[in-house]
Subunit: 259 residues, 3 copies
């Protein structure tokens, strides 16, 4: 094919629990590139644990805002596919978001002015694969520049948000929890720098980790260390090792700060 | 580099058993982008079990037809690399297919008018890596618009097809089998909607699954369910679980329908 | 977005130990596409074992030279992130390389005329994520065409190189070692064709493999075989099987040649 003036340069990101062994991701990409020729596709991840909306919301919350304005984010972790749960297309912060109304956009909706439409299920859509038959065509249309009102009806209710446990002061300290564990076994917490920065003592469950440091190279290999992570919350790691394996804790573990 | 009027916009899809840990996929992509600058590369999957031509043919069969006309599909699951098995470039249904003649294109060849050429092994090609040294250069040339007869000699025989067990009527019912198991543990069968749609009773081996329903959300969490899947054949799943783990069956398992 | 005359067509390759489950790779890609709109991103791999600089250097060494001149290679396996280890941007062989000064570029530096600058850590860079905050912005700037001296200060020392054990003659034979094991369980050695081509007897540790053959299809299924691999060194495989599982050896195993 030659060059085509109607090509879009829009970026479309993909975040799913489909894995990368099966045909599913390629079927979605085929629909995207058919509907939005020239779009740049970026895999965020397809390795979300099946149905784990909470992790998907965390990963989306860390990534979307680093992409250029106008990026379309397709996020399909959708254990309720085929049920009457609404299908959403949102515009917030100058980005577009497409996916099920199950809380996956919680981190995006925080503090945002949101325009939202509910997508209609196209005739013939497979009830088990809205990623391909409902969300991908809508994402492609948005990438082509279709307006929200062409793609669905204005939402008559607020998009769903996950409930989060907020960090809290407790006596002379503060308490939060582990919200994500990464491939290095690092524990990501919900404790923001304002609370964590000056802590002289971090404990995970009953285990002493020590003061908050600058980075994991401030301790010897094999030692535990707490620091403000690259996502701007407190993290607990083992240098050249795995904190989740060493401490035998995961998502939900209690993290306590003393000053 | 500046923009170049000779850029191609063609999509090239990649389907291999190379995995994604080793240098192999990147070596192939480097050859593709060197030979067809500007091409859009789409990974179908690289996680086919080494040498599993049957799964590769299934995945290719589900995906190729959703891409735009003119797409080049590079499919290299090739346990016979280095033997005299022919290397193919096919045109069928307005798409181009490149890979070994071992049955990997079976699903594409069904009902198709096929033009086919046999590729010559370039001098110096590594006998263990035709993906990089034989198939990728041919795919890049096809993406650039080279004609079939520039790339090889007209095939003097029919491309190889895998033998498939067809679903059959048996008494007052029908019998098929599991042909693929996906990451969710869902059992994909070879039973088409015409046979399956009205079944009141589905059995996998001796196990009762129940009637054919619309989708897995028609049963409670943890229950078994049969439905017409997104690939338009009968599937058997466990809602929020894994049918392959629950039923202890996999590819080849007998699936029986009663009406 | 419409088309933009300032778009770059440069390829940027990515080689990391970040895995593909977490947000990290997408955060890096967002920075790359924000800084170099239109760039073509190619994943080499993200599945390097955490901190395994030696495997990263091997994979980079096999892949970089197959990409077009002008390609930018971002290589971040960086166990020393946050320590004072220098951050490098190199130009060699007409390609650009960006990453930590820890030996990851060893295979590139061999025999090369290298221009090198040391990158400054931007204010506000997360000490645990230089891939996103230091290396990706530099790679994007290089892809846009910035000159080396705009991006850092000329390096006052030679980039670090890993020490490699060279193959050596021993009596009437030669001795090398396994330097990489791939997903198929094939053992890649450091023995070049000049030494290996005429060997009549290959041994791995004390185990007899036989003569050097053309390819693995020269032996029956299940048999061990030595051949000159697609990376132009001796490899030892088991046809339709795994040499690492059959021989119970891995990286560092002694490989002996007799003539």
């Amino acid at each position: 094919m030659g060059k085509d003036e109607s090509l879009t340069m829009t970026i479309i990101t993909l975040l799913t629990d489909f894995g990368t062994s099966d045909p599913y991701v390629a079927e979605v990409k085929a629909v995207l590139l058919s509907g939005a020729p020239g779009a740049t596709l970026v895999d965020v991840t397809h390795d979300i644990r099946p149905g784990d909306i909470r992790s998907a919301a965390f990963v989306l919350g860390r990534t979307w805002h680093r992409f250029p304005l106008g990026t379309v984010h397709l996020a399909v972790v959708d254990p309720g596919v085929g049920t009457p749960r609404p299908a959403l297309l949102l515009r917030a912060h100058g980005h577009i978001f497409v996916g099920p109304d199950n809380g996956i956009f919680s981190a995006v909706l925080h503090d945002a002015v949101v325009e939202a439409v509910e997508l209609h299920v196209p005739a013939g859509a497979a009830p088990t694969f809205h990623g391909r038959d409902l969300f991908a065509p809508a994402a492609a249309a948005a990438a082509r520049g279709c307006s929200l009102h062409e793609l669905g009806e204005q939402l008559a209710f607020a998009p769903r948000r996950l409930a989060y446990t907020e960090p809290r002061q407790e006596g002379r300290g503060a308490v939060g929890e582990v919200i994500y564990v990464d491939r290095f076994g690092t524990l990501v917490t919900n404790l923001p720098p304002e609370l964590a920065r000056d802590a002289t003592d971090v404990r995970v469950e009953e285990l002493e980790v020590g003061p908050v440091r600058r980075t994991f190279s401030d301790v010897p290999s094999g030692a535990m260390v707490a620091f403000i992570g690259s996502g701007r919350t407190l993290e607990v790691a083992v240098r050249d090792g795995s904190a989740t394996d060493t401490l035998h804790v995961g998502v939900g573990a209690r993290v306590e700060l003393r000053y």
